[in-house]
Symmetry: C2
Subunit: 343 residues, 2 copies
Amino acid sequence: MHFKLAFIGYGTVGQGLTEILLEKKDMLEKKFDFQWTVVAISDTMKGSVYDENGLDMKKILDLVKAGKKLNEYPSGKKGMDSIETIKNTNANTIIEVTFTDVKTGEPALTHIKTALKAGKNVVSTNKGPVVKEVLNLLDLAEQNNVFYGFEGVVLAGTPVLNLAKYTLAGNKITGFKGILNGTTNYILTRMEEGTAYEDALKKAQELGYAEADPTGDVEGLDALGKVVILTNVVLGKKITWQDVERKGITEISKEDVEKAKAEGKRWKLIGSAEIQPNGSVKAKVWPEKLPLNDPLAGVGEAINALTFYTDELGPTTIVGPGAGRRETGFSLLIDLLNINRES
Amino acid sequence: MHFKLAFIGYGTVGQGLTEILLEKKDMLEKKFDFQWTVVAISDTMKGSVYDENGLDMKKILDLVKAGKKLNEYPSGKKGMDSIETIKNTNANTIIEVTFTDVKTGEPALTHIKTALKAGKNVVSTNKGPVVKEVLNLLDLAEQNNVFYGFEGVVLAGTPVLNLAKYTLAGNKITGFKGILNGTTNYILTRMEEGTAYEDALKKAQELGYAEADPTGDVEGLDALGKVVILTNVVLGKKITWQDVERKGITEISKEDVEKAKAEGKRWKLIGSAEIQPNGSVKAKVWPEKLPLNDPLAGVGEAINALTFYTDELGPTTIVGPGAGRRETGFSLLIDLLNINRES
């Protein structure tokens, strides 16, 4: 397939994908018959540019990395906003990577709906719209005979949604359990070595894992969003934020960690959901002491992992990165490769 | 797609697949537009039966489980041998699950070649043909515009080949490292608890994990075959048995295990291969002392695991079962679902 791409938002993730597309252009064409042209970019800060015949993405990267605006690109139409770019360009696939409010899901939610209604594929790393109304969006995509991909919203480039949908196809997945937040896992790994919570958090902030306000990570809100997404998408059960029991890691003391160690166990912040015999779902984010023979117990640092419970294979676990600019950019390529395979 | 299936060989794996196909018939049709009829079975011990309109597989399972021959099936043509069944029936897909010599790959190798040349898809759990000449067989499949699937030969139903081909698509995979043999991992797990090697082996034999002659497992030959397969198929590098350095677990003493434990490490029999800077491959099966923060270190009992080294995601690991009658039967369904998706 020949993708005519439009970026809505053009921050680090979009730039990461651009680098991958440029570096892998030949391989993608030879191995997957995957061709691409970027026809438009629209970003609230950087401006916008559209050329139906395609933009020179090396030039674009140079401009953006030099802190310049897209207006300085030597040709093409300037000044189209995001909605115009979605509706009034020849792009067949929209890459939605704007800076979005996780709670309202905006402006990504509006962008995604507009694109799907216009019969354009959407790939996006924005979590808000998925948490808020993933099943609606998937319906909308189906009605318009296009694809909505969001692999990156759970574990960045570690392809957990793909694993569930394609690689584990034929299994009934009845539940999952995972380390869904890298920051808290990094903090717990340091505490395991004897570092106090406050110092471990400080280190995580220095490394850029944790925000200045770390609430979203350490209180389990980030993991909770991922539990909602996985429950809706993989287990096929409609739940929202309110349906998930939640406790973060802030009450875990150095003594708790030492005590677990003495028992041959390790604290991990676990996001999980399980379909109950009556068909309902029990979902939670909670610190758990795992025995060392649990595949999740050995997963340290900022690495993430997810175990699916399946009827044919029993527990099946994937372990990989859960964040990162290039890894998250790569998740968009996974979605694009799926569109390519299915069309 | 409507699969018209012929089983060549009909032991526990074929029967396991039959159970899955019967139990999941409705789901497969609804979810994947996957329809199937078994038109023929040919087994050297159980006899053979062919009906171009399809066999009643519940009846067949009852017959076989009662220790009866296929001749007692009330209708259909009897007495066709495996080659006739492959060539002269209306089957479009051959399920090759005969009892086969791992070294020569026969009779599976002849069956697979015959089927591919006749323009029929093949799915098979036989390891011999894959170790011996997988690249030839894949070429032959491509020339005849059909599919040759063998997911089950590495880790039974844990979909490592699918993971590499579909879910990790877009990555360059530069190496792998895994626990590829359940029996030795079971033995090492028991030794970790203080059991002596001989007693752990005896227990593995009692549980049916290890054969009466355990050489294939404990000397690393089984894992070696899997290293050859993964190197050829996933890394795309042609190697054979002779190219793999090998050492089993028989020389690991209770003291070695204790010593590793004191160092915070664990012995695992690791199969690995890595593409070298000059393009050659270094492949081996060797006992390694892993630190506890290696995702493979936490994988105990008869469970298997495989880490792929990728350019975009770094190390990405999958953990799941590596054997079992139903799990291996399920691996054939994974291959059939791929054919269904691609056709």
